[in-house]
């Protein structure tokens, strides 16, 4: 029955073991893909005919921006699963996503403004993408703030799950409001991201950076989720054996 994996993943001891293995399996491809992306982006790919070498920042900015949104969505989906099916593992995953997502949102904002300086002449430009990214950061900080304000873990899980779900519903609304707002005031300054044709030597490193970033996130998240599962586990005997097994 296809749902078996879903229930098996739901059981903390199983998740704790599986996640441990996945972290090891994912770490290496992430490093390799990342290395290829970095070298490709910095050295092999030709300069952009308009922006010259400054364009190479896209190889870190785009994956970071992609991660910030993908992580928030993952967080909201696992929070919803945790709330609806009352699965502690899902809440553990949601709790693990928050700080990783916030850190990559900050990275996306920083690399975005560093990229903006040569293009727009200023470090901060109320560009629709950057502004949405900033508001996404506030959503993250609100989530992290609420979670840390409630001591009781199960209650913090449920309250922050409601916030994550409300937040994810609002992300597209906020984004398109900002795009609408920006389009009125000045010419849309399109970031050199959605270019029609990109030579493969430019595209391949970018794709591998995207993949590396995603694998890195999953590995990071699963590492934290294993800890979060332990914190949510009440008195299960399995913790004892799992810890002995690990340290042995």
């Amino acid at each position: 029955m296809s749902w078996v994996w879903f229930h098996k993943l739901g059981s903390p001891p199983h998740f704790y073991r599986i996640a441990g293995r996945w972290v090891r399996w994912l770490a290496w491809p992430a490093v390799l893909l990342g290395a290829y992306g970095l070298i490709g982006g910095l050295a092999i790919a030709p300069a952009d005919y308009q922006q010259g070498e400054g364009y190479r920042i896209v190889y870190v900015h785009a994956p970071a921006a992609w991660l910030s949104l993908m992580i928030y969505t993952t967080m909201a989906v696992s929070a919803a699963v945790g709330l609806i099916w009352r699965m502690n593992v899902a809440h553990a995953v949601a709790a693990s996503c928050a700080t990783i997502g916030a850190s990559f949102t900050v990275l996306a904002l920083a690399t975005g403004s560093l990229w903006g300086k040569p293009m727009w002449g200023t470090y901060w430009e109320w560009d629709p993408r950057l502004t949405s990214e900033l508001l996404l950061l506030f959503l993250y900080l609100g989530y992290i703030g609420l979670r840390s304000a409630i001591e009781d873990i199960p209650r913090a899980d449920r309250a922050s799950a409601v916030l994550a779900i409300v937040g994810v519903v609002n992300v597209p609304i906020i984004h398109y409001s900002v795009v609408w707002w920006n389009s009125l005031h000045q010419v849309a300054s399109v970031m050199k991201l959605d270019r029609p044709s990109m030579p493969t030597s430019m595209l391949l490193p970018l794709l591998s950076m995207f993949l590396a970033a995603t694998l890195l996130f999953v590995a990071l998240m699963l590492t934290r989720a294993r800890g979060e599962v332990l914190r949510r586990e009440r008195t299960a005997r399995w913790i004892g054996e799992a810890l002995q097994q690990e340290s042995a």
């Binding site: 009352r86 001591e151 009781d152 199960p154 009440r234 008195t235």
Partner: protein, 206 residues
């Protein structure tokens, strides 16, 4: 067939395992008295039974049906009296009861006044703001709400706290009347309930 059955209830408060696989059943006309040291989880158990606090595991069945499957229907069957007054301080007892009972069923002012008289709250206090009443008087207004809701199941947390001797006797009579008409009750209190007929069954939490 019992009114309310709970089996294998587990509940934690922080990392304190307050309910460890608790099971019990409650039939019509029966009163369960929950006793235990402070912090043993008496209030948590009662709030969990009402559906205010989610249980980590275990089920609560009301007349054979899982309470959680249709929680509003189950909650309409019970009257919950918390440790606090559960009243608006800036309303009079009559106004409080008109709104609190009106939420559930069509009450009318004469029934409300009747209930307050039954609990011997003098007419003058019935029209003063709850803020100006003593804790004992506020407790009587809370008990009047429980009477007026006319629910088969009472779940009361320290109902006789702040009540004087006469008040406790009044409550005992109301409880006796409730049980004799086939009602059931779960009460967390250390005081003797002073029932005449069948004595309350103790439920020990340790």
């Amino acid at each position: 067939m019992s009114e309310l059955t709970a089996d294998n209830l587990h509940l934690w408060r922080g990392d304190l395992h307050v309910l460890r696989g608790l099971s019990f059943s409650l039939s019509q006309g029966q009163c369960l008295q929950v006793i235990g040291a402070n912090g043993a989880g008496k209030s948590s158990l009662l709030r969990a039974l009402c559906g205010l606090l989610p249980l980590e595991s275990g089920t609560v069945r009301w007349r054979g049906q899982d309470a959680r499957s249709d929680l509003p229907a189950f909650q309409r069957q019970l009257a919950w009296l918390a440790h606090g007054a559960g009243l608006k301080a800036d309303l009079t007892p009559i106004e409080n009861l008109r709104y609190a009972v009106g939420m559930r069923r069509h009450g009318n002012d004469s029934a409300i006044a009747g209930a307050l008289d039954q609990l011997q709250l003098d007419r003058d206090s019935q029209r003063r703001l709850v803020r100006q009443l003593s804790a004992g008087q506020q407790r009587r207004v809370g008990l009047a709400r429980v009477l007026l809701l006319q629910c088969p199941l009472w779940i009361l947390d320290e109902p006789t706290s702040n009540l004087d001797e006469a008040g406790q006797q009044l409550f005992a009579d109301c409880l006796q009347q409730h049980l004799s008409t086939g009602g059931a009750a779960i009460i967390a209190t250390h005081q003797l309930l002073g029932l005449q007929g069948t004595q309350p069954t103790p439920l020990e939490l340790h």
